[in-house]
């Protein structure tokens, strides 16, 4: 058998429909969430990052899961009510053609996964993290399976991000110009029906495009044919989202962090909070609603090292240079090409979480000073109406 066949059969890494294209584009591939994904192409992480903020970057994020949830009653309202049993977000009030950031919680108010929920009229489309997609599907089936069909979709996902994203996509679908931030529409791209949301993971204006897998390559090549567009790997995807202050599941948020600690209270609409008409009714509600009222003991914060050395995930944080006990840790850290400085995020006790607070991170046996900084590090450029 060929090496390709042997590799797949031996249970090795999965591949997206764009794998061959990545190889042709000179991508350096890495293992991520069970997939072989491009970490960078020929430009390199730094230039790919900067290109996305000045023109348009194209990302293959087909490793992520896309799950359709449809009520057996065929009433969207029933599916929304069902989803609200798992998610502390207003889904009932999410109008068709709109997408919203959300998360599944557990009984301790911890986050099982962060997701995007789109209302497609008669069903909801949930985009989930690759590493969690099997668990998310099982969770949905276990909790909603009686009244909803839970269908993982075999579709690719590509993200087009940057100030030129609209002009690039408009060449294929001019209607995208009338979409505002967090709108979702079915657009026909090169003869194929695609679900397109004006959203992303970079802080830039842009689109996330759910594509039938058999035309994924065609659409991707068409977009790459535009001189403003470059292919962008996961390396730059990570530095872009870090600058945008966005969480990475498994690093900044996980089952031990509540949405309040994680600084995601803004995603929990008033209707689900105490006093709201659909208050609570999700796992861990007591804890989360309590924290919304009284504050959480720790907070996710932005961190700016005072020097040039990056401070990476796992570094322990101290309130004082000579302190013996750590008070928190760094959950994401690296370098921000757009600010030409090292950046990090981590958790600190509420008392040390005000911007400007000076804390110390232990790096290679030394205590390096950092300042707590407001997030995001780079201002977002969403197209809000």
């Amino acid at each position: 058998m060929s090496r390709e066949e042997a590799k797949t059969i031996s249970g090795s890494l999965k591949r997206t429909p764009l794998h061959a294209l990545h190889m042709e584009l000179g991508a350096r591939m890495v293992a991520f969430a069970g997939y072989e994904m491009p970490v960078q192409y020929r430009l390199g992480v730094l230039k790919e990052h900067l290109h996305t903020r000045t023109a348009a970057g194209l990302f293959d994020v087909s490793h992520m899961g896309q799950i359709a949830v449809r009520a057996r009653s065929h009433a969207a309202h029933d599916a929304a009510r069902a989803l609200e049993r798992l998610i502390p977000v207003d889904i009932v009030g999410l109008a068709p053609g709109r997408v919203r950031y959300a998360f599944f919680t557990n009984d301790q108010g911890g986050i099982l996964d962060d997701v995007m929920v789109a209302s497609c009229g008669d069903h909801f489309l949930i985009v989930v993290n690759a590493a969690q997609k099997a668990a998310d599907e099982a969770h949905l089936r276990a909790e909603l399976g009686n009244e909803c069909d839970v269908e993982p979709l075999e579709r690719s996902l590509i993200a087009l991000q940057g100030p030129k994203a609209e002009s690039v996509l408009a060449r294929l679908a001019p209607e995208c110009m009338t979409m505002g931030f967090m709108d979702v529409r079915v657009l026909t791209l090169m003869g194929g029906k695609c679900m397109v949301s004006r959203s992303g993971y970079t802080g830039e204006d842009g689109f996330e495009i759910s594509v039938p897998p058999d035309i994924a390559r065609e659409i991707t090549e068409e977009l790459l044919g535009n001189p403003d567009v470059m292919p962008i790997g996961l390396g730059a995807r990570d530095s872009l989202r870090l600058e945008a202050g966005l969480c990475l599941y498994g690093s900044d948020i996980d089952e031990t962090t509540t949405p309040v600690e994680a600084g995601l209270s803004w995603a929990i609409q008033k209707v689900r909070r105490r006093g709201g008409s659909r208050e609570a009714g999700f796992p861990g509600a007591e804890i989360v609603l309590d924290q919304l009222e009284h504050g959480a003991p720790r907070q996710r914060v932005g961190l700016r090292p005072e020097g040039k050395a990056p401070v990476r995930s796992g570094a322990l944080l101290y309130g004082e240079e000579e302190a013996s006990a750590s008070v928190g840790s760094v959950t994401s850290g690296g370098f921000g090409p757009s600010v030409d400085a090292p950046l990090a995020m981590g958790y600190l006790p509420a008392a040390l979480s005000a911007p400007g607070t000076r804390v110390f991170a232990e790096v290679r046996g030394k205590r390096l000073p950092l300042a707590v900084a407001a997030l995001p590090f780079v201002a977002p450029k969403y197209k809000r109406s």
């Binding site: 390199g44 992480v45 050395a309 370098f335």
Partner: protein
């Protein structure tokens, strides 16, 4: 005299002082360098000691002392502009200079053709 290590460092000997850097191959593998930490001037290093740290956007990497010696000079230029390591890794992107304890130890390291073979078969 130019020699190489298996950790992808190069050494250029001038008298008893060796200039040390990372090879173009190493720089390519590393990706865009964003931070460099150099050894202290006067530091006494044993062969294999951690001498410097070089970080890309994604990760940190150690640069080791290829041979025993004293650090007699460090290249501030790459601290000020880490991109220089990618631009000219085997020239202006040098890291530090070591006064070698034993110049003859250079003979035990790979020459250019041996290093080329190493990276070809990698």
């Amino acid at each position: 005299m130019l020699r190489y290590t298996e950790e992808h460092e190069w050494l250029k000997l001038d008298g008893d002082v060796a200039t040390v850097g990372i090879t173009a191959h190493a720089a390519t593998l590393l990706g865009d360098v964003v931070f460099v930490e150099l050894p202290e001037l006067g530091a006494k290093l044993a062969k294999g000691d951690g001498a410097a740290v070089v970080e890309s956007v994604k990760a940190a990497s150690d640069v080791y002392a290829p041979l025993a010696g004293d650090v007699v000079e460090v290249n501030q230029a790459i601290v000020d502009d880490p991109a220089l390591v990618n631009a000219d890794p085997e020239g202006k992107g040098w890291f530090f200079k070591l006064r070698l304890d034993d110049v003859k130890a250079m003979d035990g390291l790979m020459d250019e053709s041996a290093y080329k073979k190493l990276i070809e078969t990698a």
